[in-house]
Each structure stands twice: as C-alpha cells, then as structure tokens.
Amino acid sequence: MPRRYLYIWFRYLATDRLAKIRPELRGKPFLLYAPEHGRMVVRASSQNLLKDGISPGMVVADVRAILPSVEVFPADLAAEEKLLGALAEWSICYAPIVATDSPDGLILDISGCPHLWGGELPYLQSITARFRKGGYDVRAAIADTIGTAWAVARYGRNEMIIESGRQAAALFPLPPAALRLDSSTLQRMEKLGFRQIGQFIDIPRLNLRRRFGEAMLIRLEQALGAIPEPLKPVQPAPVYLERLPCMEPIRTATGIEIAMKRLLETLCERFFNEGKGMRTGIFKGYRIDGETVQVSVGTNRASRNAAHLFKLFELKIPEIEPALGIELFTLEATLVEDVSETQEALWSTANRDQAAISELVDNIAGKVGIQAIHRYLPLEHYWPESSVKEVISLEEQPETEWRTDRPRPIHLLSEPEPIEVMVVLPDYPPMHFRYKSELIRIVRADGPERIEQEWWLKSGPPRDYYRVEDESGARYWLFRLGLYGNRKPQWFLHGYFV
C-alpha cells in the first residue's frame, strides 16, 4: 500500500499569530520586519498588503513611502518556530506521524488515517476547516510523496488531492519553484525558459544532472516517489497526569487523603516503570460549584517515593477548601526528571542516606519555606562577606578547599558594628574599645591582616583586621576601615572567636 502524505501550508503564519494575540489588528494592513544586513526587511505582511504589491523581501522604509498608514512590528522568529511546533503537536489528533517543515509548513503521514473521517476529501476538509476556525489561513494537499504534496499545496490551482501514482501529471503544469530548489538553480531555469516542470521532466537525467547538479535531480525524484524522503516526527512531551473522579462529592480531609494516596500510587508506579521522578507536582480538586482548588509541592531532587510525596502533600491538605464537595481530583507532575538507577545501586548505603536527607529537607522546605535552607561552598575571595557562596542543591561539592591559613571567627555579625577605640599608634591594635557602652580592655592582640576591597567588584578603603583578647578571655575580631591620614578611620567589631 503506498504511503499518503498531507502537507499543510500556513500562508500567513507570522501575521496570523500576531492577529490572534492582538485582535484589533485583524483586517488591518500591518507587517513584520527583521534586520538583515543592517536594513529592516519585511519578513511577513498581512493578506491585504500583498494585494497592494508589498511582499516579503522589501525594505520597510520603501513600504512606508508607498503606504504611510501601515503598522510595523518586529518579527519574533523563535515564537513562530514554537507556534509551529505546537500546531504540529495538536495535529497528532489527525495522524500519528507529524513533522514540521520550517518556517511555515506541516507534513503529516496520513497512511491509513483518512478512512476514519470517511475518505480523503472529508479528511482534508475537516482539517483545513479546523485550522481556519482557529484563525489560520491554510492550504493543504494530499499526495503519495512529500514533494508532490508540498508542490500542490503551494502552487496547485484546482485539484488538492492527487490520486495515487499520478504525481508526474500533477507536477506537469507547476513552476520549477514547486520542486523546492535553491534560488541559483531557479534563476538558471528561468534563463533557459523552463517555466513549467512539464518542460523538463522528460529530459534524460544525465543531461539534467550536467546542467543543474545532483541536488535538483534528488528533489525531482523525491517528488515523483523514486527516492524515499525521511521524516523527523515531533515527539510530544509526555504528560504525567492522573485523574480520579468520585462517585459522591468529597468533603472531608480523610477523603482527600485517600484520593491523594491513590493518585500518588498510580503516578509513582508509572515513574518507576519509566525511570523518572517528580520535581514539582500540582494536586487539583474540581469542586461541584465549578471552582478548582489546588496545592503544589516541590522536591529537592526527583522523587518517586509515594510515601514521601504524600508526606509533602499532607502538610498542604488544610489549605484545600472542599466547600460543597470535590468531584474530581487530578495530580500532575509539571516537572519530571530522570532518576538514575545505576547511581542508586552503586552508592547503596550512602545514597539511601542522601535520599533520606533530601526527603527531610523537602519536608522542612514545605513547612518553613525553601528560603530558610542554606548551604555554603567556599569562594576564592578574601573579603569575609563574599568568601562563601550559597548553593541550593544538596549534591554540589566544593571546587576549592576551605581555607585555614587565616584565622576566621566562628561568629560573624551580619553587619559590622561600630565601636569606639583608644589606639596608641597607627597600625597598632587598640588598647581598649567600647561596645554597647561596655568598656573592654584588650590584653593580647594579633594582626593586622589587611584585606583590600576587590577593585573589580567594588571600590573602597581597605580593612585591617585584628584578633584581640580581653581580660576575661573573650576573643574578638575587630577591623579598622581605612588608614590613618587626613581623616580619622572608623573601627568596627565584626565577629567573635572561640
């Protein structure tokens, strides 16, 4: 049985997209531009502008001169690409194998599908009607090969369904551009007077190859079906969603717990089979009064342990307000990551501890908030406040060693506190200092350890740090900001040593 392909051409994909976002533009002349060699070039123009002779490739300034009323917008190529991908995913409801044809086409392998819609014509009508209803201007064609479907969709005049084996006849009246050739080949054909494919389709291949190269022959053979053409189908992201409808509306916390447990069990079983784990999950309840209530949890690392996930959700159950009752529960894992099993086997005991700790941390994060949890790694900076960096993951290991060559206090004040000091000589440690109206006499001192501001980050005076000990044995970390000179430098208490 021959394969059948459907090609859908979105004639005004970029402008249709903008008109959908901004409905006030519908029916108005507007265009999208993108910079090209330092000029603003029209990339797409609305349908009514094309009638005025404004087509892609023109310079925006010229268009403004012809039509001052035209509205212009910058083109968003990434968004268009994304939209095409989304349309391809939607089209899977018509055929299992769908591929995108950048920038504005979709290829559907419809072999064995149209009879479900009662034949190819109703199938084609149905799919184009659906797209038109969605606000997209489409032309679609069905043929045995992708090449012919492409050609007919873009250049065909009347017959959009090409019967099996009649590709050559269909291509006959079409221009050479319908063969997906590059512009230099097309220019050469124009020069030779080839206006229709029919004029050269019967010329011996050897002569064609000599004049136009191998690439053109491949395109021609692909359109005729002599050479197969590969397709790269889109892979829709799997949706991890479980549903649990209830016979009677649920109103109690126990009922919600049972629903949650059941959903988690089925979802975790699926995770287990696919080697995945949940990072974020949303639990939704659809109430009978039409409202939805939802709670979400996040985990520190991908988890498929139903008991652990239940513990996280359990903390949020009081937030669910059942009102008159909940008739449908859904559980969706919005962020899913791979869980490596080999790793688990290798580090069996250590990893079990690791898993237990990350479960504990998730649990704590659920109660007091993720912003309360801190873990530090060393950074190669002398400035004490910037000598550590905060990390979120529990697995990240330090790249450098923790430094021990300089004394660092066990307590560091978040903000250095100003103190009054008595100093005998500049660069000497103080004799005594007053902190919070208490006079502290210094008996022993070490220092100074000068730490300069890191000029590439911030400018300012240096700090001279002193480790001092008072009569009772308490040890402090003091510093002087700046040097003795014109202005009197300020002293600060920054920490406590053991």
């Binding site: 504990l360 704590i364 206090p409 001092v468 000990e469 040890r475």
Partner: protein
C-alpha cells in the same frame, strides 16, 4: 580472689544493663567514637560521651555563645568523621560557616535552617532528630519548656541521633529532659612569653549529667583536637556519692 573478680564482673554487667534500660547507648559503637575529651570521659555514664541523646548548652553572653559553638564544632567533627550531614537550626544565626573548618568540620556538610520563629525551630529539630541519616542536629534557641524537650528526647530514643540544644540568653534555666547541661566559658589563652593570641582555651563546666559526675575541665583546641590541661582542672563541685553511702543500713 577470683570470687571478687566474678562479683565485679557481675556488677559491671548489671550497671550496663541499667544504663541501657535508662536509654543510654552502651553499645560497642559508642566507645569507638573518641571525642578526645581525655579524663572527662570518667564523668560520663559508661565512660563514654553519650551519643544518641540531647545535650543542653547554656550561654548567657555573646562571647560564651561563641565559645560554646566552638566546643560544639569540636564535638561535631568527631560525630561527622564517618561522613554524614549535620543540621544547624537557628532563628538568629551568627555562625560563620568558614569558621567551622578550624574545628575540623567541613562547612559544606552542614545544612543551615534559618527559621523565623522559635516554634518552627523546635518543629524542624524534631523532624531532624527523627531522621537517622543525619550525624547530628544543633538548634540555637532562647527558651524551651520541659514538655517540648521531652518530645525531642522521645524522637532521639528511636533514631539514636545526637542532638544539641544551645540556649542563648534564656530567661530561666528550667529543667529539661536532656541528658546533660553544659556551660562553656572562654579563658585567657596561654601563650607563655610569646606575644599575640594563643589557641582557643575554654572552661567546660558540666553542670548536670544523668548517671555521671559533674565537674569543671579546661580544654585547649590545638592541632585539630581537644587538649586537656590536668593541672588546672578543678575538683568536682559536688563530691560524688560513694558506693558505701548508698547503703542505707
């Protein structure tokens, strides 16, 4: 003679049995952990620092709190020697992570939980103490009631995690269900004739210890371990009740 030895052996076994009934870990692994406390070990029940229990530290001032955290870090370094992670819970944390490295604790193996309210700190500590994958849990608090401390003790009894309650500036020194109560004070460091500040030098007062003997010791943290200074160690505050006096005959 052999009869006497036999009796001693029986008494030792009975003592061990009583300790285990009272919730003290007298298994072989508790003796493996040597905290380097030297002669202080005699003050502990069973002659070893009680792990798998909750210890209470009281610091009235900021400088005492720094000293107590240093002593705690020294104990943690032994607890974390075999690997593992420590939880450090605090509502007003001043601890500077790189400062832990001096006491042999890898700062990246400590997870800091900075809670907003003390009630949350207690909840987090209880959760942490229930998780037996942790090496230790430290909580810095102001006040805690007896009932709350009993919950923590119950959590520890099943998981055998060592917990440290560090009370800073607490309004009253109420009785808690902890195995011990400590007070750490900094002492002037000993440098001899040399100028500058010496090694950290602490006075460790064991105010209360269940089934042990309270006392005061002085330690120096030197070369990555505690060093006891025996000559300065004062006598035990309360004379221990000798075996003979317990017979009320």
């Amino acid at each position: 003679m052999s009869e006497l030895a036999e009796k001693k052996e029986i008494i030792r076994q009975l003592k061990e049995k009583i300790l285990s009934l009272e919730g003290f870990n007298t298994g072989p692994d508790s003796r493996l952990l040597d905290f380097g406390l030297g002669p202080m070990n005699a003050a502990f029940p069973g002659g070893a620092f009680p792990v798998g229990a909750i210890h209470e530290f009281i610091s009235p001032t900021e400088t005492c709190a720094a000293a107590a955290n240093g002593f705690l870090a020294g104990l943690l370094s032994t607890l974390m020697k075999k690997g593992g992670v420590c939880l450090w819970i605090s509502a007003r944390r001043k601890l500077f992570a790189p400062g832990l490295k001096f006491f042999g604790v890898e700062p990246h193996r400590v997870i800091f939980i900075d809670v907003r309210r003390e009630k949350e700190a207690l909840w987090v500590m209880e959760q942490g103490l229930k998780c037996n994958s942790l090496a230790a849990v430290v909580a810095e608090l102001r006040d805690i009631s007896f009932a709350e401390s009993r919950r923590l003790q119950l959590a520890v009894e099943t998981s055998k995690v060592t917990g440290f309650l560090h009370r800073q500036g607490s309004r009253m020194e109420n009785t808690l269900a902890c195995v011990s109560r400590w007070k750490i004070r900094p002492l002037a460091s000993k440098t001899g004739e040399l100028p500058g500040v010496g090694f950290p030098y602490l006075e460790v007062e064991l105010v209360k210890i269940r089934n042990g003997r309270p006392g005061i010791w002085q330690f120096e943290w030197k070369n990555g371990g505690f060093k006891v200074l025996p000559d300065r160690t004062k006598a035990v505050v309360k004379p221990p009740v000798s075996q003979k006096q317990r017979h009320y005959a």
